[in-house]
Symmetry: C2
């Protein structure tokens, strides 16, 4: 279990708003309009099904190429990055996302066709990047479509991509109708590639389920406080910074940015533009980049400090005194993990002293249970905030115009 | 030469403010209080000096390990990432930055001591991350300090680190006194590792110099307009987004974030907190993440769209029609480069239509001259904006408290 501390003032929060937040997401969960709440339970069956395929997959493939973008890759990458060092035997994962030709070429160079399972992921089935790259792969690697055992498809049951998959008798997994792309990491989207790659997804799901259970049982009230605080201060603090002290959070930060930004940047029911801007930072690196702005710049940001008590690696700073550099000897004989944690605490203290609203999420270690909990935490935080902002948290109408303009360019 | 288009309304800008911006930076340049303006010229001599060492370096080393953080690594990484695909024979660069033990271990695993040149970079000479990692490297690789030909040091002439280097007769390069860390990429900080790695730094410097010359000759007025617009709208638009359409800009975006955030997030001469928050996005990926917030969220951001006309790689989207997926055939037979550029244009149109303030920077291709120009452009933009905000653009007093607290933790 992670430890959550809201250092901002929770006394002024309206108890009615907290109840409203809870009731709103509880209603979503009960009436099944929003599906992600049920994924941790539902997907356990999927893990069992995948486990029966594992021997065959393991003997045939050493690499999984994921073709997908946005909600179809960010969550998978986040989990892989967090758990990779603890899962050294997991298969290699290659992500084909961006329409940048240089990236596609360098990713394709890493693919050995005979040992690679290709998983094409698109909820709508019409994502231009994914389909263009998929076509490129078919031609470059001379992939056979009909009855292929090395191409899997993950999509909405009723999408054009699912019809394509069925036409060619490809193995297909469904994303439930009521689960949006950015909330889909614990559906087949994340569970299929990560389980087949060798990650312990059952424990990730358990971590998410346990947190959800505690939340429904009113044992995680801090999350209601935080959402309520963020929403009630949204004009004062339009930006929410996640400052995570380990490089392993780099991809997780991007997942949070999509979840938070795309869910909450909306026109509300009165047609007003609302939204909260997510910013993902990594410590200690970004102490040398962004920290000055937080401390002395306008007080327009909240900051969440995230840190991990114990690292898998106990790398020490040698007891070595260098002439003229004795000022740095204070850290001799400590571990790098002690250093980075002390940097987080020292920075948090200085940010607090500058008057910034701060909260803190403490991990004991990075393991599957904690990763699952953190996913459920951020999804819930987003849903509660969206409900309090009186928006539709689950759509993204603003991006449609660009797609229409794009198509028109080539149909002239 | 890059092409700059300010799509926002420049008619309402005060001509007096534009002059004030120009005069302020011109004064800085003339009186030499700020040194970076002179680096493109000064560093050409350094390149010539380094060129005489190249044969020896090339025969001895195939890897350069850069030990540095913040201003001592971000610029090097930005240039390497932009120019790597056009400089395939450049040596491998390894960056030891963060105090994250997992990262340090995995970076150390990539180092073959016999073939690696270590370059320790710290302007102040007291950076805790750099010194701790350096000590770890000395012990792990059993590095000899005295007269070592595989350890270089880059620091202020008068720093404790320079005294350390001289004590051990290490090759040492100076960062001019009047050049701050985040403005130092065209000093020895960037020029030494990049030149020795095999990058054409003379052309980068030329690109920067040419742009500065044109600016001083009042041929690049758009930059004054943009700085003036950003500063006069800083309360309305507290965030400035750089949306760059190529993965190659990922590290450049981080360099801009440091430059912009740390320079402009300050207390001004009246003690008021001012600042502009930089946000770096990559297209097309972040169309699936952040775009919704830009389009429908609060109008509190400016957006700069950056794109590259021609790519080094002409990867085509095959003329392949897949059953049920015919909707995506509109892009068949085009190149991925055409796709990503069309995505940029379509997204820019949709963002403009939503009422956001937009400007555009068009690269013909990614080459050394353009990279140098872009560095000079962002440094100038930052300096002009800082002058108009009446702050000290070049210090970072806000980060000192955290350092003091950190030291006190270990001296208890």
């Amino acid at each position: 279990m992670l430890q959550y501390t809201n250092h901002f003032d929770t006394k002024t929060l309206d108890p009615f708003t907290l109840e409203k937040g809870f009731e709103a997401v509880h209603y979503e969960e009960q009436n099944k309009a929003v599906g992600y709440y049920h994924l941790p339970k539902l997907s356990q069956a999927l893990v069992k099904e995948l486990d029966t395929m594992r021997d065959e997959i393991d003997s045939r493939f050493d690499t999984i190429a994921v073709i997908g973008i946005g909600g179809s890759s960010l969550g998978i990458k986040a989990i892989e990055r967090l758990l990779r060092s603890g899962t050294p035997n997991a298969k290699k994962l290659i992500y084909l996302e961006n329409s940048d030709p240089l990236s596609i070429i360098s990713e394709m160079e890493e693919i050995d066709k005979s040992k690679t399972l290709f998983i094409l992921i698109s909820k709508s089935g019409g994502t231009v990047e994914a389909l263009s790259i998929f076509k490129r792969l078919i031609v470059s690697f001379e992939l056979t479509l009909d009855n292929s055992d090395q191409i899997y498809v993950i999509s909405d049951d009723n999408s054009i991509l699912s019809r394509f998959a069925d036409e060619h008798h490809l193995r297909r997994f469904a994303i439930p109708d009521n689960v949006g792309g950015r909330f889909s990491v614990l559906s087949a989207v994340g569970i299929v590639p990560l389980t087949l790659a060798g990650f312990d997804t059952a424990s990730i799901l358990k971590g998410a389920q346990d947190f959800l259970d505690r939340f429904w049982n009113r044992k995680e009230e801090h999350i209601l406080q935080k959402a309520s605080y963020y929403v009630s201060h949204k004009d004062q603090y339009p930006m929410n910074v996640l400052f995570a002290y380990s490089d392993a959070f780099a991809e997780f930060g991007k997942w949070v940015v999509q979840l938070w930004g795309e869910s909450l940047g909306k026109k509300n029911r009165y047609g007003e533009r609302v939204g909260l801007t997510p910013i993902s930072l990594i410590g200690s690196v970004d102490q040398h980049s962004f920290l000055q702005l937080i401390i002395e710049g306008p007080l327009n940001k909240t900051v969440t400090f995230m840190h991990v008590e114990s690292s898998a690696e106990h790398l020490m700073i040698p007891k070595l005194s260098l002439k003229y550099l004795e000022k740095s000897d204070f850290i001799n004989g400590k571990s790098f993990n002690e250093l980075i944690n002390a940097q987080c605490q020292a920075t948090m203290q200085s940010v607090l002293q500058s008057g910034v609203s701060v909260d803190e999420i403490a991990w004991k270690k990075i393991d599957e249970i904690s990763v699952g909990e953190m996913i459920a935490y951020y999804e819930l935080l987003t849903s509660i905030s969206g409900a309090l902002m009186e928006i539709n948290t689950y759509d993204q109408p603003g991006v449609e115009l660009g797609k229409t303009i794009l198509t028109s360019y080539f149909q002239k």
